[in-house]
Every structure is written in structure tokens, then in C-alpha cells.
Symmetry: C2
């Protein structure tokens, strides 16, 4: 066990959806690089990674996004603002890119992952999942969101997941449509301000006996 049960739960209890960020305090570079790698290393269906993680550093762009986010101050006050976007369409080229990368990374001959290619194409490109590719790729971005929030908490970084945004407005402001991606959700990261009343509020969760179903 690398992390004790107690430390893990302590961090889960201390995290919360941060409403007021300290606008001055920034995430150190080494910590941010780690969180970028957490995003990169997130698992996804077939390993397709059908996502883009938009890191909005431009302060003026953050000001543009704030009214598209119910006016929430986290957008401008946080240290790092990540927008999660999903790929709009999965194509044979996406499957081919992945299998070629796989054979390259693993030192296999090109073509060795043909079976994987065929499975991805017959499912996600032309088959059953292609019908609901929007939902499918959205779901994957939420795995990355969950990983990012948990990892941030374990590194002592505060976060606020944000669903209350205008996806079409974000797409336009961030130029995502032209590269074939759509905004799903966002996450503000940084450090809580001393005056955030939410920080002290007791967490409200249903007991495991209420949300767990033994079978």
C-alpha cells in the first residue's frame, strides 16, 4: 500500500468544489506538469483518448469565458483553467493512429494490431457505438475529470468541476469547432481563498448503505 487508507480519505474529505480561489497563488510548475501527465495518463475506452484538454492561460480569454460560465469567478481567479473537449467524430484514421502508435511504442511490426483496428472500426466507427459516439466520448472526458480532481486533492491542490457552461459559446471562444472538438465541461484548479465559506461546510453524502446495492 503506497498511500494509507486514512490519508486517502482525509484528502477526499478535505477537497470540495472551491468557490473562491486565491487569485494570486499559482500552482508550482512541477505540480502542474504532474497534473498534465495525470490527464495524459487517464484511461479511455480502447485507449482512443478521444479528447482535448484546453489549458486557458490567456487572462483576456478567461474574461470572455466567465459570462459563458454563469459568471462564476473561479474562471478568472483560479491558477489553471482546464476545458475538457471531446472529439466529434471517430474515424478509421483515429483507430489507425492508435494502432500505429501502439506498435511503435511496443516495438511490434506495423500491422500487428490489425485485430484491434478492426474491432475499433466495427464498433466505434461503423458499428453500435458510432450511433452514440457523443455520449461515449463525453463519458471518457469524465474519467479524466475524476482522475484530475482526485489527483489534485492528493497533491494539495484545490479544484472546482464546472458543468454550468455554454458549450457552444466555449467552442467558439476557444476555436474548438474548427479542429473537430466540442466542449463538455471544465475544471478550475488552484488554491482556496481564505474567505471561501464553502471550505468549512460539512460534506453531504448519502451513506454507503443508501447508495450501495449488495447483490
Amino acid at each position: 500500500m503506497l498511500l494509507s487508507n486514512e490519508t486517502l480519505l482525509t484528502q477526499f474529505h478535505s477537497r470540495y468544489a472551491t468557490k473562491n480561489f486565491d487569485p494570486v497563488r499559482k500552482i508550482p510548475a512541477a505540480t502542474w506538469t504532474t497534473l498534465e501527465q495525470v490527464l495524459v495518463l487517464s484511461p479511455s475506452s480502447y485507449g482512443l483518448q478521444p479528447w482535448r484538454f484546453v489549458i486557458v492561460r490567456n487572462p483576456q480569454l478567461r474574461v470572455t469565458l466567465q459570462p459563458l460560465t454563469l459568471g462564476q469567478p473561479q474562471v478568472v481567479d483560479c491558477s489553471h483553467f482546464v476545458v475538457f473537449a471531446r472529439k466529434n467524430v471517430l474515424t478509421g484514421a483515429d483507430a489507425e493512429k492508435l494502432v500505429n502508435r501502439t506498435t511503435d511504442v511496443r516495438g511490434m511490426p506495423r500491422g500487428a494490431r490489425r485485430g484491434c483496428y478492426d474491432t475499433m472500426v466495427s464498433d466505434g466507427v461503423k458499428g453500435p457505438r458510432s450511433v452514440w459516439v457523443k455520449e461515449w466520448t463525453e463519458r471518457q472526458t469524465y474519467v479524466a475529470l475524476g482522475n484530475l480532481m482526485t489527483s489534485a486533492a492528493l497533491l494539495g491542490v484545490d479544484a472546482c468541476p464546472m458543468e454550468g457552461l455554454d458549450p457552444a459559446g466555449y467552442d467558439a471562444a476557444l476555436g474548438l469547432g474548427t479542429i473537430g472538438y466540442s466542449t463538455v465541461c471544465a475544471c478550475a484548479l488552484g488554491y482556496r481563498a481564505g474567505n471561501d465559506p464553502s471550505a468549512a461546510a460539512r460534506k453531504v453524502r448519502y451513506d454507503f448503505s443508501e447508495v450501495g446495492e449488495p447483490r
Copy 2:
């Protein structure tokens, strides 16, 4: 910083979608209780927790689920098998249950969270999100899935997320329809077997320069 950047990334690199579990080795009770709490403590939109985590302990039921999961052996061989289900419909009663729990937990008078109740009802019950409540609640289960996978890796527990399953078949086998929930995905947890060839395979991820979009 509670966990070093290096330790966090080491665990992300060592985790993988486990194909072969050791059918004998079980997750210790204290670790499992921790992972249950990780599920409970997962964040969700408005804090609504529109989910059920079905823990399938009955070996015969696992045998029933295996053919509904593309025959994958993880279903029967893993130590703990979790099915993630979403609530089919959000109602005013769900919003009321949450605000009442909130006021109780935080020692506020009943009715103090009326504004929250109104917001949830005018959005998720009768408003814009009620139109796509299926997608919305599905997304929340993926936050919990992401948290569970990351937490498991940090506790030295192996996991395999599973989307390749027959949701309707699962609902019937687990009796979820009658309680108003639907299967979304599953996660097998336990310890890798010595003979899992996937364990040694190099991880394949696109570089941050390929999936990150600076703006």
C-alpha cells in the same frame, strides 16, 4: 503536498486495465471499506449523487453476468465487482431529500436550502438538464469510476474498467429496473495474476503536446 509528484505518476504508470486477475487473492476488508468510501465521497453535479454502486458478491450471479460482458473472465475472477448504475429520473423528491440532508448535516433549519431546491428543480427536474438527464447522470457515474480507478491504483489495488457489457441484461440480472436505476458501466477490482501479458505492455498515450490545447 501529501503525495509526491513522482509517487503519483509512478502509480499511474503501473496501473493498467487488468485482464487476468488472481482468482484467489482478495482485497483486505479495510482497503475495500476505503474504496467504498471513495465511491461515497465522489463529487456529483449539485451533489445529487444520482447513482447506485452495485457490489456483486454472489459467485453465481457473477457467472450469470460474464456472458453479458463479452465473456470476459475478470467478472468472475476479480475480488470485488462494482456495477455503476444511474438514476433513471430526477424528481422533486430527489432534490428535497438532498436539501433536507444538507440542512440536517450542517445544523441549519429545514427550509434554509430552498434556493438550492428551486435551482435543482428548475434545471434538472423541469428545466434544461431534465431533457438530457440520461447523459447527465451517466457522466456523474464516470466521475466516480475515475475516482475509484485512481484511488485503487494509489492503494496498490488493480482494476479493469468495463464498458463492453449489455446494460439491459445487467439491469434484469441485478433487479435494477424495479428500483429505478440503469446500468452504465462496471469495474473489476483485485490483484493481477502473474500470467497477465498486459501487465508488462508499455502504456500508449499521446503526448501532452498532442492532446493539450494551449489558449
